[in-house]
């Protein structure tokens, strides 16, 4: 029995080491090629998936990995989007805008976490519920900065002339580069030292403290990182959608983000990508079926996934990495998303001629 198990482990070890070497290279090639081959509408859909994959990743850090229920992640996306819109419309340097779109949400997240993490379990959830609920009227009220209910538009990230790319291709490259970097850094972080810490803080705080870990500190850290990543997703949101309003950070969207994380797979990097795809694609698909039944169909999808795959879509990819989830590297998501989007893309046929840029 033990012997048989050892041999299968050895076999999949070999497969894994092959995946480990070829996987990242293949992924990079796919990410470089994807923006060049699809029409504009597909590129925009992929870019939106990227935006929400980053937002789901942030939620996963605090909720999936560290086990702290957060219902306010969309607030940090909204905050990042507003900071970006404000900065761009005031002609600030885009790098400065990006840094502020990371740091301001991170700082707000830190302040909230310092207070909220002192409270146990459900109290944290309640504090985070307040964020989008307070955020929406606040965004309406502070019209000097936010444009009130009208919202703010800001256009940036057009393709530079030397690139010879369409704007949508250039933007998709930006999303893939920035989003990819965030995914890579987060993936590294949730392995090794910090992955173990977040895991044990989620599982058993007494054990965590017995090995020298202050659960409070790491809850605050996880929440702050989630807010920072939320800010990045807000920056990307403005890059891709170019418009934000108080509605962006509504509580309903926060819940959808949560559903996307659970469906994609909690505490999973791949699951965050799948969650982003769910967030963007499922409403589109249910709209195609029958616009009046959108909410109902989404609810049905949610229930079906949870009954069939309680671990989320990412658990489909898990058998390969069984027992070494923390080191499995296959990342099939970007391979899946383009083919899944082609249908909806060809339906909305945008004429090639209107595509903007410098090809």
């Amino acid at each position: 029995m033990a012997g048989a198990r050892m041999t299968t482990a050895a076999l999949s070890d070999r497969q894994r080491s092959w995946l480990r070497r070829a996987g990242p290279l293949l992924l990079v090639v796919v990410l470089v090629v994807v923006p060049l081959v699809f029409p504009e509408s597909v590129n925009e859909t992929i870019a939106r998936i990227g935006v929400f994959a980053v937002a789901v990743l942030g939620l996963n850090v605090v909720m999936g990995y560290a086990g702290q229920v957060s219902l306010g992640q969309i607030f940090f996306l909204g905050l990042g989007a507003y900071v970006t819109a404000y900065g761009v419309s005031n002609d600030w340097n885009i790098v400065v805008v990006f840094v502020l779109a990371c740091l301001i949400p991170a700082f707000v997240g830190l302040l909230v976490a310092l207070a909220a993490a002192r409270l146990g379990g459900l109290a944290i959830a309640m504090v985070t519920v307040a964020l989008p609920i307070v955020g929406v009227p606040l965004a309406k009220r502070l019209s000097e900065f936010t444009g009130g209910s009208q919202g703010l538009s800001a256009r940036f990230g057009d393709a530079p002339e030397w690139s010879g790319l369409y704007d949508d291709q250039w933007r998709l490259y930006l999303v893939l580069a920035i989003g990819g970097a965030v995914f890579l850094l987060t993936r590294n972080l949730v392995r090794g030292k910090y992955g173990r810490v977040l895991g044990i803080v989620k599982k058993n705080e007494n054990v965590a403290s017995s090995v020298g870990i202050s659960p409070y500190r790491y809850k605050v850290l996880a929440f702050t990182l989630a807010s920072l990543i939320g800010g990045v997703s807000g920056f990307l949101y403005m890059l891709v959608i170019q418009y934000t309003s108080p509605e962006t950070m509504s509580f309903g969207h926060s819940i959808q983000l949560l559903a996307a994380m659970v469906i994609g797979g909690a505490a999973s990097i791949v699951g965050s990508v799948l969650g982003g795809a769910y967030y963007v694609l499922v409403p589109q698909l249910t709209n195609l079926v029958d616009p009046s039944l959108t909410a109902l169909l989404q609810g049905a999808v949610l229930l079906v996934v949870l009954f069939v795959l309680p671990g989320g879509l990412a658990s489909l990819a898990r058998p390969l990495g069984r027992g070494r989830r923390s080191r499995a590297r296959h990342d099939p998501a970007p391979l899946i998303t383009p083919s899944a989007t082609t249908k909806s893309g060809s339906a909305a046929d945008t004429p090639e001629t209107e595509r903007q840029g410098h090809p």
Binding site: G192, K193, R196, V211, G212
Partner: protein, 260 residues
Amino acid sequence: MAAELAVQDVSLRFGGIEVLQEVSFTVEPGQIFGLVGPNGAGKTSLFNCISGHYRPTAGTVRIDGTPVQGARPATLARHGLARTFQHPALQLQETVLENVLLGAHTQLPGGPLAWSVRTRRTRRAEERFRGEALALLERNGLAWAAHLPADELSHGLHKGVELCRALLMKPRLLLLDEPAAGLPHTEVENLIATVRRLRAEDDITVVIVEHHMGLIAALTDRVVVLDHGRKLMEGTAAQAQSDPRVIEAYIGKDAADDVA
């Protein structure tokens, strides 16, 4: 450098319930010390007072002369205290090795940024402690399980994994909470051998809470017997086993609980 543990007049009250009443004893550096007594005697509560998980209502706990009562467990862990739990809590989906590596936490350098960009320093430290963790597993006969998910191991082996995790912290004072509970006889033998080897090879003070009198008799230099939150007697395991008060405490009222 093994630590000295001095518990003085420690009392613990939960509402109206007196869990511990003025318990005092001293554990010399390098000793293996037993805390025994029938169920509900307050052994684990006393442990929690030492490890910082409970704050005693009164009294002092000193490690090497420094008062530590009321300090947070995480702080104590950084000062050389490690413990195991009655019911080991492992990350069941993670490998045994990852579970043991949690014990290296305070010794691993670098903040979140360094770990996200995988600096050379963090990679080297991780490698080094991976080696140390494997060596500990090897020493405790668990090397074969290092890369298996923890949920494929038995309860008894979980206790071994938890012990390795505690040892990777390189403690000067190790608290073992009922290490033999639920173990089959052969594994108790292994456990006795392991703790003996600890004393021989590492400079470490060990305090054991245990029901298993065979294990206590085989291992400990000295024991304290608790009953209803009070210290009943202190002496060697042999003295405790022949003490009429101890026999009464065990067989008199709590026979049903403790025969098992």
